[in-house]
Amino acid sequence: MGASKLPGYLLGRVVKAAIVVLAIVVCNFFLIHAAPGDPASIIAGQSGAADAKFLEQLRAQFGLDQPLHVQLWLYLKGVLTLDLGFSHRQQMPVSTLLWDRLPATLLLTGAAFLFAVGLGVTMGALAARRVGTWGDSVITVLALAFYATPLFWVGLMLVLLFSVTLEWLPSFGMASVGVEMSGLEAVLDVGRHLILPGLTLGLFYVAVYARLTRATMLEVADQDFVKTARAKGVPEGRILRRHILRNALLPVITFAGIQAGQLVGGSILVETVFAWPGIGRLAFEALLARDYQVLMGVFFCTSVMVVLFNLVTDLLYALVDPRVEASA
């Protein structure tokens, strides 16, 4: 039992992730073909902008006159060499568009995620410790309220309050327009722009994590090993930290992995509301222009993000829970 099975476990996860990515590509391919109408015009975007010559060019590129499996193969080969197609609207390769927008989205989702986990777990732990008190009730009610509020509406309401009425914070974009700034000043400027969208995207998940942490902490607190700790005279504070919280974090990690896709989806709405120049905003622009190549690129790119994030949570879980090795 000395030799760790961890590498094998991780290898398994990586293979699985690769299969998921591959399946998404196949999924994309069949979506083009399942859609009503000529695949070429769908790839080109249907608003009539595509001329006949361009359609011909697309037919050749995707081998649309060839049998389906050949087309699939061509498509797969393209995607695997990171050729995600060409946006006729923006006159740019889709992959370039995505690369340009990726950092903004990573900044937004990353900030929102850390904010949500940090505040959510703290609030949940506090609520569990004071179960039944007014503080617990407030947290429970807040969680319920955030569950029920549409993300984009929260964004608009924050704009209404902090930008329109109070004029404290900027309501759109990632940096002030037309002002030259350097170093720290520029970072702070981005930070100011990040507050509202980050808050909007994060608040819902604060509620989710608070609820989850509260529930699992209460569940763990009932388990036998907590009683064992008490029976050997461990002080309550230490029981909470070393025994309850550590065990209660396992479901939180699992959940972080599961909801990663939701977080990315939410960023589309938030970026739309705040004109945040990320992938979500790109998706919205593509949507308005019916630019399907870009939309599929967004789908592919966000899926890969989620798959990678899941790999990280799997690794984290394996590091925290020794039992993973045994069940790999």
Partner: protein, 281 residues
């Protein structure tokens, strides 16, 4: 039934939720009587603030009555929420039951499939589906159902898996009952409580999902919906806050009421349902 109601009513939030839900339902049913005519028609001056010029909740940039839009939007929200949940339930319950009862390779295949759908960013997929199949009420319901069935499949599969090895099911096997009669007579009735609770929560997330889609301009162009109202108010929020505030409150109340009812059901049916759901874009 009496006992069920008593347990449900013990959760005061659930009763409040049920009352709100019934109110929204009444609004949806009475919309054509309260606001006859199309909600798309001009009813007054553009940008009339709430309470002025006979407009309870004000008018939008084209002079359409926001209150009429909300009343008619309730029909769409509830309809999409209910129908897509039913479709998702049909998919999820069949797949989950299949995987959980048969186990083995069938379970493996179905669960890999389900995991796949849970991994991919569901909202992005929904956008893609609606965009490609052009926004109609049908494609919206379809897209929402496609992204909402995986939790059902998981819950049903877990229930079936645990019930299948329960001794009373084994006893039925030993009595020589047919597979169908075991699945429908022994397993399904005992797996029903978590499915019912989950369903009420799914209607809530479907409504949120529909509103998010129509906010992005992916609503059915012939049907007034809450998300569309907020979306059209977005760019003029500085001059007409009421255009986005009131439809948002409508969504909030409806979704909240469904969540409350779900919790009440969960208390009343007392299932072992984990409350950590992740169904919101």
């Amino acid at each position: 039934m009496k006992e069920f109601w008593r347990n449900f009513a013990r959760n005061r939030g659930a009763v409040v939720g049920l009352a709100i839900l019934l109110g929204v339902l009444a609004l949806a049913l009475l919309a054509p009587l309260l606001y006859p005519g199309s909600p798309w028609d001009m009813a007054g001056m553009p940008f009339a603030p709430p309470g002025e010029m006979g407009m309870l909740l004000g008018t939008d940039s084209l002079g359409r009555d926001v209150a009429a839009g909300i009343a008619h939007g309730a029909r769409v929200s509830l309809l999409v929420g209910a129908v897509s949940t039913v479709v998702a339930l049909v998919i999820g319950v069949s797949l989950g039951a299949f995987a959980g009862y048969l186990g083995g390779w069938a379970d493996d295949v179905v669960m890999r499939f389900t995991e796949f759908f849970q991994t991919i960013p569901s909202f992005v997929l929904a956008i893609l589906l609606v965009a490609i199949f052009t926004p109609t009420i049908g494609s919206i319901v379809f897209a929402i159902a496609v992204v909402s069935w995986p939790p059902v499949a998981r819950v049903v599969r877990a229930e079936f898996l645990s019930l299948r090895s329960r001794e009373f099911v084994q006893a039925s096997e030993v009595l020589g009952k047919s597979r169908l009669s075991i699945v429908f007579g022994d397993i399904l009735p005992n797996a029903l409580s978590p499915i019912v609770v989950l369903a009420s929560l799914m209607v809530a997330s479907a409504i949120l999902l529909e509103s998010a889609l129509s906010f992005l301009g992916l609503g059915d162009p012939n049907m007034m919906s809450w998300g569309f109202l907020i979306g059209s108010g977005r760019s003029v929020i500085r001059i007409a806050w009421w255009m986005s505030v009131f439809p948002g409150i409508a969504i909030f109340l409806t979704v909240l009421s469904l969540n409350l009812v779900g919790e009440g059901l969960s208390d009343a049916l007392n299932p072992r349902l984990t409350r950590n759901r992740g169904g919101k874009a």
